[in-house]
């Protein structure tokens, strides 16, 4: 019954405002949730979320469903906008262990269906040692480079790279066996 994201984006590419309204309402909680997690300030998070939808509107024609879902596309725009905002303000990222805890426990207020992939990934992330999980979230959510994480944690950059790579590999393997 609901119009698909793909159709909404296709309509948005032609300048359809009603499609944009439906698209914004459908995705605003997800986009704002990510923006708030990264920037940690409601007013700034709202700016980032708005900026994200403006970009999605302007670039709707470049969305390619073969490359991933509309949510994924939208969240990567959100992430980049949020990282730009904290970089610009030189804000410190949230404590990575706290963020891991936040990500691995499913939020009570979240009424959307959690997919099997999400469940498997939450569990896999929870089981990852902190020395792997922390740099992964610092890179993924806050845009820190391996070198920056190395300086912050006082370990060699090569070690950070290896931990991130192995950690991501484990997450990927667990996502792959989500039905087990």
């Amino acid at each position: 019954m609901a119009v698909s994201d793909e159709s909404l984006l296709a309509a948005m590419a032609t300048g359809d405002q009603d499609a944009a309204a439906a698209f914004v309402r459908r995705h605003q909680a997800r986009v704002y949730g990510l923006a708030l997690t990264v920037v940690q300030q409601p007013a700034l998070a709202e700016d980032v979320a708005q900026d994200t939808f403006v970009k999605a509107w302007r670039h709707a024609a470049t969305y390619d469903p073969r490359r991933g879902s509309a949510s994924t596309w939208l969240l990567s725009i959100t992430r980049n906008a949020a990282i730009d905002a904290i970089r610009y303000r030189h804000d410190d990222p949230m404590d990575p262990d706290l963020l891991v805890a936040l990500l691995t426990v499913r939020d009570e207020g979240d009424t959307s269906d959690d997919t099997d992939t999400n469940l498997a990934l939450r569990q896999a992330l929870a089981e990852l040692p902190s020395e792997m999980a922390a740099p992964i979230v610092l890179m993924t959510y806050f845009g820190l480079t391996a070198r920056e994480i190395a300086a912050r944690d006082d370990v060699p950059a090569g070690t950070v790279k290896t931990r991130v790579r192995r950690g991501l590999q484990r997450l990927r393997e667990r996502m792959g066996v989500r039905d087990a």
């Binding site: 300048g15 997800r30 403006v54 980049n80 990282i83 691995t104 979240d110 845009g143 070198r147 991501l168």
Partner: protein, 224 residues
């Protein structure tokens, strides 16, 4: 360097490439290899998939009341961009990728960040077949990279990273041995970048050569 060793080097970089946080220089190195290596491209796709999935774990939060109204008011002032034909999109994105390769740091601005995502689509759209990348060689050592894109127009971009300062004349040597002078590239503080569209089909370019007065010769082979 043997291929497997280079793959190992690039695999280390892949998480940062997937998350768009690699520095300009390592990104240029990574891209040069990814353009040619199907296995590393697959790895980049898989890691990117994991990163995308991680972003979906963030708890949802309703924005303050009236958010949708404010967004829609902002949209009314900006018309969506028209659909760009794939070929042009690839060319445009590659020019931007080339800009990145020149060492622009990633936090310069939003446009740069968007490009970080774009090169993934470029590599998958072109599937590497229309894109060639090669090392610039100076006395057997790497002095940067050359990217060549086959399209309309075809173009070539070079990013020099470690070479003596001066103005180099750039020429293409065709597979038929004919020489085409295409312009000059200036190197300052050991680095320089330059690009141009080229009339020659990229497939028929054997190598790119750079010459200058009292300067060493720098060569990149595009064969293979």
């Amino acid at each position: 360097m043997p291929e497997s060793e280079r793959c190992r080097e690039v695999r280390e970089l892949i998480p940062e490439l997937a998350m768009g946080v690699a520095s300009g220089e390592s990104r240029a190195r990574g891209l040069a290899h990814l353009a040619d290596c199907v296995d590393c491209r697959r790895e980049l796709e898989e890691v990117s998939g994991t990163v995308d999935a991680l972003l979906l774990l963030v708890p949802e939060r309703e924005p303050p009341a009236g958010f949708d109204v404010r967004v829609l008011a902002a949209l009314e002032q900006r018309a969506p961009r028209h659909r760009i034909r794939t070929g042009l999109l690839v060319a445009a994105a590659m020019v931007l990728v080339a800009t990145l390769a020149a060492g622009l740091t990633w936090w310069r601005g939003a446009d740069d960040r968007e490009v970080a995502d774009d090169y993934r689509s470029v590599l998958s759209t072109a599937d590497g077949s229309y894109l060639r990348a090669a090392d610039l060689q100076l006395d057997g050592a790497s002095a940067g990279s050359v990217f060549a894109y086959q399209g309309r127009p075809s173009w070539l971009f070079m990013s020099v990273e470690d070479a003596p300062n001066g103005t180099y004349h750039v020429r293409l040597v065709g597979t038929d041995g004919r020489v085409h002078w295409i312009g000059t590239c200036t190197v300052r503080d050991g680095t320089g970048s330059w690009g141009t569209s080229v009339d020659l089909p990229i497939r028929s370019v054997d190598r790119v050569e750079m010459y200058g007065t009292r300067l060493p010769t720098i060569v990149a082979s595009l064969r293979g």
